[in-house]
């Protein structure tokens, strides 16, 4: 059970950061995962008064505030036009609308959860996190960093000519994925991201080979991805099953990108 002694809606980022330095204090995003933990929190720090709930589009980037909800990114036209609907696809299977109206992008990314569709999706893009003290760090790096007491302020997605696709496999609708795949293509290089292995999302790159038939190429890329990542077993799926799914999902994502799946 979660117990909380005090609730503070921070008036400034500075205040939030200072409060967050105490180990018994805690930042809350949507609070969905936090609530399910057995934890005694002295002070819960709410960032919702800091204007971090906006999605801004600039000429060369998007900036998504940490308190933007999953529903907001699902509905954001510019972000979905840019990603050809992949962002929507990455969140629309997460429980239900009521859940996505509460869960925040910052909470999903900062938590670096293995099952995170959001982390998998954004690593596939050229994404960065803006940390209050740590500055701007690539999301791929951030995913590997140990958790500290900094504050995640926003996610920055650099725009570039790209194609991208998101796919996931779930044992049952609205459950966590048993494999999640974000695929992007910039120039002749694919970035293949696999999450829910069940370890958290990680990426590899793979060169496009125009000389091959697309179906044959997709098959090869799927096989290469399945060999490059490590997979494990948990209550939802075995390592062997995940490895098989990875091969198929990467192949399908590649074909979908070319409009042949």
């Amino acid at each position: 059970m979660l117990t909380i002694k005090e609730y503070v809606k921070a008036a400034t980022i500075d205040e939030a950061y200072d409060l967050n330095q105490k180990k018994t204090n805690c930042i809350c995003g949507g609070m969905i995962w936090l609530k399910m933990q057995r934890k005694n929190v002295q002070t819960i720090i709410d960032l919702s008064g800091l204007g971090l709930d906006k999605i801004e589009e600039r000429e060369d980037e998007f900036e998504i505030g940490a308190m933007v909800t999953l529903r907001d990114i699902e509905e954001n036209k510019a972000l979905n036009d840019y990603t050809n609907g992949a962002v929507k696809e990455s969140v629309r299977h997460i429980v239900g609308v009521q859940f996505r109206n509460v869960a925040t992008v910052g909470g999903s990314i900062f938590g670096r959860f293995g099952f995170s569709d959001v982390l998998t999706m954004f690593i596939a893009l050229d994404s960065y996190v803006k940390l209050y003290k740590g500055g701007i760090v690539s999301l791929e790096e951030f995913a590997k960093m140990p958790k500290d007491r900094d504050i995640l302020m926003s996610i920055i997605v650099k725009k570039q000519p790209l194609k991208c696709v998101y796919m996931s496999q779930r044992n049952t609708k609205t459950d966590f994925p048993v494999i999640a795949c974000g695929l992007s293509l910039v120039g002749d290089t694919y970035k293949i991201v696999l999450g829910a292995r069940p370890a958290k999302a990680a990426a590899i790159t793979y060169k496009k080979d125009e000389s091959m038939d697309i179906k044959e190429f997709a098959e090869k890329m799927g096989e290469a991805a399945a060999e490059s990542f490590d997979f494990n077993t948990n209550m939802r799926a075995s390592a062997e099953y995940r490895k098989h799914l990875a091969k198929v999902i990467v192949k399908r994502a590649c074909l979908k990108m070319e409009g042949v799946y």
């Binding site: 909380i4 969905i32 709410d46 009521q98």
Partner: protein, 153 residues
């Protein structure tokens, strides 16, 4: 801490504990339609509207609702009754336990989409679990309701 929440059109001010969950706050103020089903953010039974958007009241601190407008089924009697008749006529409920959360989310859906497609309906309501009906009756009720509404226009 002291919070003021507008519940179904009435401002309620109260000194609350920091870890009071919105669901308990609402029940304390007479909104017994708001129920706890799973408490793991999965079933949708505790759905209420916060500033017009459906949210899970089991997964939110009451403190987060400070300054917000909350609507529960108690405040939406007319809309709920209108649609509820279709649910009953289609045999779309058996034990009825899921009903309050389901109706709240259907109301939210119709505020967002005038004419949702089957796919949009399924997706919008995916977070409202029902252990009895198999969802077919619910789908029929929604479609009959939409058809009737269209005819009335």
């Amino acid at each position: 801490m002291i919070i003021t929440v507008n519940i179904n059109g009435k401002n309620v001010t109260e000194d609350i504990e920091a870890d009071l969950i919105l669901l308990d706050f609402l029940r304390k103020h007479g909104c017994y339609s708001v129920k706890r089903g799973c408490e793991t953010s999965n079933c949708g039974l505790c759905t209420v509207l916060m500033d017009e958007k459906p949210v899970l009241s089991c997964s939110m601190l009451a403190a987060k609702a400070d300054g917000k407008n909350i609507m529960t089924l108690e405040g939406l009697q007319k809309e709920a009754e209108e649609f509820g008749t279709f649910v009953a006529n289609q045999g779309a409920e058996q034990c009825g336990f899921c009903n309050p959360g389901f109706i709240m989310n259907v109301i939210a859906m119709f505020r967002e989409y005038e004419n949702p497609t089957d796919e949009e309906i399924k997706e919008y309501l995916a977070g409202n679990l029902c252990r009895c009906s198999g969802y077919e009756g619910q789908m029929r009720a929604i479609k009959k309701f939409m058809a009737e509404r269209k005819g009335a226009k």
